[in-house]
């Protein structure tokens, strides 16, 4: 339980920081933090407790973020993607990308066929996992915006101040 709370806390902080790079206003940043906490902890629970593969877990978590962002959009008077996109950033699988690059460098500098095959396998496995996880996350977060078009594109209605 404590580890889930810790996961939520740190992913919220990560989302706040990455959202500030994209100049998200403070009124939207708290929703970023909330969505990131929910999404990342959901992925953590799915992978840890239910042994779900990272690809499926990340897609489900991203879909949850995407769906939750839709009703929050009109509430915050912001387009849903302004807080769902930064909320996704803590879930990007950096380690798989590094191992893929490591595999690429090692297989190019290997001398025997066996070593090459081994590193080539590592590069492909990690590279493909990384690419498909990111693709799954992008699909998961973007699909709700297109499904709930009317709400997504009228979120900023009535929110302008002089």
């Amino acid at each position: 339980m404590f580890s889930i709370l810790e996961d939520m806390f740190f992913s919220a902080i990560a989302a706040i920081g990455f959202a500030s790079i994209s100049n998200t206003p403070f009124s939207a940043i708290r929703y970023c933090a909330l969505l990131a906490a929910v999404g990342h902890s959901l992925r953590y629970v799915l992978m840890g407790c239910f042994d779900v593969h990272i690809i499926v877990a990340a897609t489900v978590a991203a879909t949850a973020i995407g769906v939750l962002a839709i009703p929050l959009g009109p509430k915050a008077k912001c387009p849903p993607e302004t807080f769902s996109y930064p909320a996704l950033l803590p879930m990007i699988p950096g380690m798989y990308a590094y191992r893929a690059v490591q595999g690429l460098v090692m297989c190019l500098s290997s001398s025997s066929e066996e070593a090459f095959k081994h590193y080539f396998y590592l590069m492909n496995y990690n590279g493909l996992t990384c690419i498909i996880v990111v693709a799954g996350m992008v699909v998961g977060v973007t699909l709700p915006i297109f499904v709930f078009k009317r709400i997504s594109f009228s979120a900023t209605r009535g929110g302008a101040e002089d």
């Binding site: 990560a14 500030s20 100049n23 939207a28 302004t82 950033l89 209605r157 929110g159």
Partner: protein, 270 residues
């Protein structure tokens, strides 16, 4: 009589031309600004069409990766004006995205004239970004949290905090000096990875490889990847591909900087 009618016709044609020109220029610059601040193509289209409908004109838009071409026709398709605009800035700016979207709804709900819309548009453009020191601190905290999420111990988190602080500061300074973003990314990744390698070098952490690995993650262009996905769904394949390639290029630059730092510090890959 005939001469007077001719004069009246000329005046009204010139008025129509001026009005169309004003609306076209505004819509083109609005669309270009939204494109530059990282909005998805479908949002740009919907916002522009919404405002064009309120202004009583018909609009056709072509969204290209670095340009926007807008053609505005009057209500009965007898006169048109077209305009091309190029985004000025390329940094993602969600606040501007939000305010411009709000502006488009305001135009519809309050039935604003084009000149009033231009005035409000100017006000949105003059809104300042978040304080750069606050962004520096928040980003460093974010990347440090990232390290913790990957399972790093608290010493590794501290190393990553310092690495991000210095790396992001280098990035901010280089971007202020208008140095190309790709070179900036390489340099920033190099600095961050050299600091990140201090976990290995000074033996201050139990998970030094995580510190090294996460020290450059603040440079990953996550939003362009997601925007590329959204543009793909909406059928804007050119913009999608362009954004995707830009993000891939930045990722490659990041990797180059990381490899450079690891090579200099003679770190073996983990």
């Amino acid at each position: 009589m005939t001469t007077m009618t001719k004069n009246v016709d000329c005046c009204s044609q010139s008025d129509t031309h001026d009005q169309l020109k004003e609306k076209c220029r505004f819509l083109a610059n609005y669309a270009a600004e939204l494109l530059g601040c990282g909005a998805t193509c479908i949002r740009i289209e919907k916002n522009v069409r919404r405002m064009a409908q309120t202004f009583g004109v018909n609009v056709e838009m072509t969204l290209l990766p670095s340009h926007v071409i807008v053609v505005v026709w009057d209500a009965d398709y007898t006169h048109s004006y077209n305009c091309q605009a190029k985004p000025v800035g390329e940094a993602i700016n969600f606040q501007r995205n939000i305010e411009l979207s709000k502006l488009s709804w305001r135009v519809v709900e309050e039935r604003l004239s084009c000149s009033r819309a231009v005035e409000l548009y100017g006000k949105v453009l003059s809104l300042p970004r978040l304080n750069k020191w606050l962004v520096l601190l928040l980003t460093s905290l974010a990347n440090a949290s990232f390290c913790r999420l990957f399972g790093g111990d608290f010493y590794a988190v501290g190393v990553v905090f310092c690495a991000t602080l210095l790396g992001f500061l280098v990035k901010q300074i280089m971007l202020e000096d208008k140095i190309d973003l790709r070179i900036t990314t390489v340099a920033s990744a190099f600095v961050a990875s050299v600091v990140g390698a201090s976990g290995h070098l000074f033996g201050i952490s139990d998970t030094p490889e995580l510190a090294l690995g996460t020290s450059v993650l603040f440079l990953i262009p996550g939003i362009p990847y997601i925007n590329a996905g959204s543009d793909l769904f909406a059928g804007h394949y050119l913009c999608s591909f362009s954004r995707f390639m830009q993000a891939v290029l930045l990722t490659i630059c990041l990797s180059l900087g990381l490899c450079g730092g690891m090579f200099l510090m003679q770190m073996k890959f983990f």
